[in-house]
Amino acid sequence: MADPIIFAFIAIGIAVIILLAVLIKQYPAFAELLKDIFGTPISWIIIGTTGIIILLSIIFSFPLLQTILFLAIAIAVVSFLVFLGKIEAYKNPKFWIGFAIVAGIIGIIVLTILFKEIVGTGLFIILGVVLFAALIVVLAKTGVLKKMVISPFFWITAIPLAAIIILPLALGFPMIETTIIITSAVALSAVIVYLAKKRLLGKSFPFVLFAIMAVAAIYFIPKIFGFPMLETGLIILGALALAALIIYLWAKVPQSRSLVGWIIAAIVMIAIPVLYFKLPAIPIVIAVAGAFIIYWFISLFKRRATVRYIVKKSWMKWIVFIIILAAATGVFWYTRMMTAGIALIGGFIVLGLGTFFIILLSFPGGREFLGKFMPGFIKFILLGIGFIAGFWIISNIRPPPIVTFLFLVIYPILFPIVMGKKCGIPLLILSILAIVLLISISDVRTENVVADVKSGFKDIGHWFELQYEKIKRGYERAEAGLTGEYFEGEVQEAAEKKLGVYLEEFRSVATTYTEGEPIILYAKIRAETLTDKPITVKVDCSMDNKPADETIPYSTFTVDKFAIENIDCKFFAEDKTKYPAGNYRAKFTAGFDFTTNAFIKAYFMNQEKIRDFKLQNIEPTEHFGFEKRPKAVYSAGPIMIGMDLGEMPLGIRETTSYGPTIGVTIENMWNGKIKKLKNITIMTPGEIKQNNINGKVEPTNCEGCERGSKECVCNYDLSNLGGIKDQNIIMLRVYTTIIDPETLIGAAPVSFKSFRISTDYDYAIEEEMGIKIRTEAPASKKILGGLV
């Protein structure tokens, strides 16, 4: 509260309120405009939620992630209830039976994937859900449900109250913060419902949403991704202006409805290959223009009917959208894998198929056929996209494992419901939540997401592989979390430095080579470390597993603190049998050795003193101001190290000999591979001797693990530990013995110690691309240059 900037914000806020009051008083039209813009329930949900988040997280230092999570839960619950009220399905027992069946099936799937326990736990869950449904049916039949469910008061009090009790007790959330956040969210929802009932709200929500999203994007994108603020602002405002123009044209100029769509499609189809993939502009423009001319010509005779159907049936717009998307996808995908010419041919084929469908729509028989088939198909596609999107987001935001698990169970159930009629509000809130969560975490993980998105645009197939891998890791994390052995750490922001080795660029001089021509690939590597120990980077280029003939300037180099290296790989192909005409996959790998350190704080107290404090109703953690469950902090780099020592304070008796067991989680956070965990050094206070890891691996050597020593340092060789090869998550338990409890407690009510880990490992990042080698073309076919 003492921060002057907060007072400055408050002063600015007061000034703005006074200014608004004056404007409203002087200009009634302005008041009308404000009412129109800010008069919708959703705008108040957004404004109120944002306000609460800012108020709680900035001024009162509540944890941002949990604040957003709580608000989302509370608002989602209220939204779900509003939704139930609208569909009225909850009054029908059949709804609950359907709910039980769907939940049961999804329960089986989730449990099968997570635990491979379809028979035991799966059936138990199904039985539970069916019994729940049966109970609901009985309640419905006896009229009790009607009384309970219809009363919003019951739900608005019971569910938040349950959340206030369950979240702190089951998940260890802070009680006061949880209560304040949930209560304020419920109060906000109640105000909105009241305003809506009194018909005090207008309808211009999209403008509010656009404005808020634009401001948020202009603020967050430069901050998180390091983009220049001015350009970002101009681009976003320009895009909004374009969107406004399109919306205006669409609404006011009927003739433009089909034309506008095609102009946008043409711009996208030309701009992305030319600007992003640096493909020659003229052939692309010719190709796209050709496609449109063909379409225009074919649809000329039936154009009026086609346009009418497109406009009349909303799902038909989706056909057009999917066709454009598929065509663009085809172009992007094949551009990286094959030559531009073949990619464009692929694009033409997809466009041709799309055109075929549109023509088919023009005929009554085709229309009927598609009318039966397409809505379901499109809905299925949308559900699929939404389904994957949710998992993708949850695997990136990495909430606590139990939250991930709950999400995995609840999300698939919610989604089909949310996709039903008139249920845009919950979906919108979920989307906003996802965006807010994604942009609010500014660390390596977010950077990875951005990197993934970028690489995904370069190679969609590869991107899907990456996302599959991430989703898989999400499951692994949830599985590990449910065993109670997954411990998360917090990355230490290295003054906004990206530590480790990054592949910034991997390109080929040309995407198509002639037989016999040397193939040249080049890469830009960025490496940075904070230690005095230099990083040794070993690069490796290959084409269909054949190594490069020459690497310029070197294939192995060391980086002291910071370096950007440009590496060229040459493949000599004078011998045409070595690389005959065809398609190849070129791969660039950079392997390096790296060290990640982590620490966790521990607080020791005499067991009797803990008892004395507790007897007097005093919580030692609050009294001495330390965390009940400290989290490990690890240095930036490819892996995360999480540590856990249990709940603080750790009670010690003078006769205690068994020491705290250190739970350790090592997780691969980048898209590369941990090649080898070479050495783990664990440092405990001198009074605590280390025994072994997982009861199997004894330390190779230890120093200072005797009475009177400051620190006990032990090295471990994990090569003897089975089951860690190619694992993304490695869980270890380090067993210890207290050799000097009296010194550990010390001459004070509490003693502060740190447990540290240092891990040396080999890591490899890699990137792939497609290369085409063709036979030498006759001189007459060289008109299109490198295109064909």
Binding site: T529, N617, F624
Partner: protein, 313 residues
């Protein structure tokens, strides 16, 4: 003579440059013309207050650098602190402080020190080395203080021998008394309920006295403050957190059950104090009831210091 002079000089130098020193702070005083009464100071539920002086302590220090960590002690209660200890707890591997403990004496609130006496304690410290791949390392600096304090409450109570309520017009009524605002001490009397018990020789006044720890710290026996702050053995002592209550009615000592009590934070504790001799007066009358508890108190506060890398390229 010369040797004595040198010894005195060295002693003075040591005193002046000691690693830990106490410095008195001038707090604003009321003018003589509006001196508040004693009752004005014997209010509130605070005792010793400790503050980590952020404006005088760097939040970030570089590896190996020397810095001062400053804490401010202020006796915001009514009782004087004549026996008090303080100790700085930190991770010794990362923060080295040559002298981390000391004793203290602080006057309570009075007409000359209406806010209570305050002192600053400075710990001259040195930051240690951190791991090479870490950019910074947070260290907690917690100061604990243990001191002997006193709660003294005086309330005028009504003694009414007519416990059956036969008499109608009475000079005073023996009613439950709720006492809010404290007595200038974390341990406070919150409620007094007067009773009259009938003994073989006549009626005896008795009182239910409710006591609560309204402060943030721990109540301990006054003789164990050194144990609480950790200087002595940490083994369990049975009477570690037990304190004695003394009550007098018109200077006559009352017998309290239990006489030794453990006072809990945020929870009222009930004690029954009874006069051993019966009263001879037949009419109701008022009398001063004095309650006194001498207790030890443990309180603490903490500050956070971050050690940063000496050189970040």
């Amino acid at each position: 003579m010369k040797k004595i002079n040198i010894t005195i000089l060295i002693s003075l130098l040591i005193l002046l440059t000691a690693c830990t020193y106490l410095e008195s702070i001038q707090l604003p005083k009321f003018g003589r013309e509006d001196l508040p009464e004693k009752e004005e100071f014997q209010k509130g539920t605070e005792g010793l207050s400790i503050r980590f002086v952020q404006e005088a302590t760097p939040q970030k220090v570089r590896e190996g650098s020397i810095f001062d960590a400053v804490f401010e002690l202020q006796n915001k209660g009514y009782s004087d602190i004549n026996e008090g200890l303080f100790k700085l707890i930190t991770e010794e591997q990362y923060i080295k402080t040559e002298k981390n403990r000391g004793t203290m004496m602080l006057k309570g609130k009075n007409q000359y020190l209406p806010k209570g006496e305050a002192k600053r304690i400075t710990f001259h410290s040195k930051a240690g080395q951190i791991d090479e791949t870490l950019t910074e390392f947070p260290v907690k600096m917690t100061m604990v203080a243990c001191y002997v304090y006193e709660m003294a409450a005086t309330e005028i109570v009504c003694i009414d021998p007519d416990f059956e309520g036969i008499k109608k017009d009475k000079a005073c009524k023996a009613e439950e008394m709720t006492i809010s605002g404290g007595q200038g001490s974390p341990v406070t009397v919150t409620k007094i309920i007067p009773h009259m018990t009938m003994g073989e020789t006549g009626p005896k006044p008795a009182f239910e006295i409710y006591i609560e720890n309204k402060g943030e710290g721990q109540v301990i026996s006054p003789q164990y403050i050194e144990h609480a702050c950790g200087a002595k053995s940490s083994e369990r002592i049975k009477e570690y957190d037990q304190v004695e209550i003394e009550a007098e009615l018109s200077n006559q000592i009352l017998k309290c059950h239990p006489s030794k009590i453990t006072i809990k934070k945020g929870r009222e504790l009930k004690i029954l104090c009874e006069q051993e001799t019966p009263i001879t007066r037949r009419a109701e009358y008022t009398a001063p009831l004095q309650i006194r508890i001498r207790y030890g108190y443990l309180t603490s506060t903490h500050g956070d210091i971050t050690i940063t890398k000496r050189s970040i390229t």
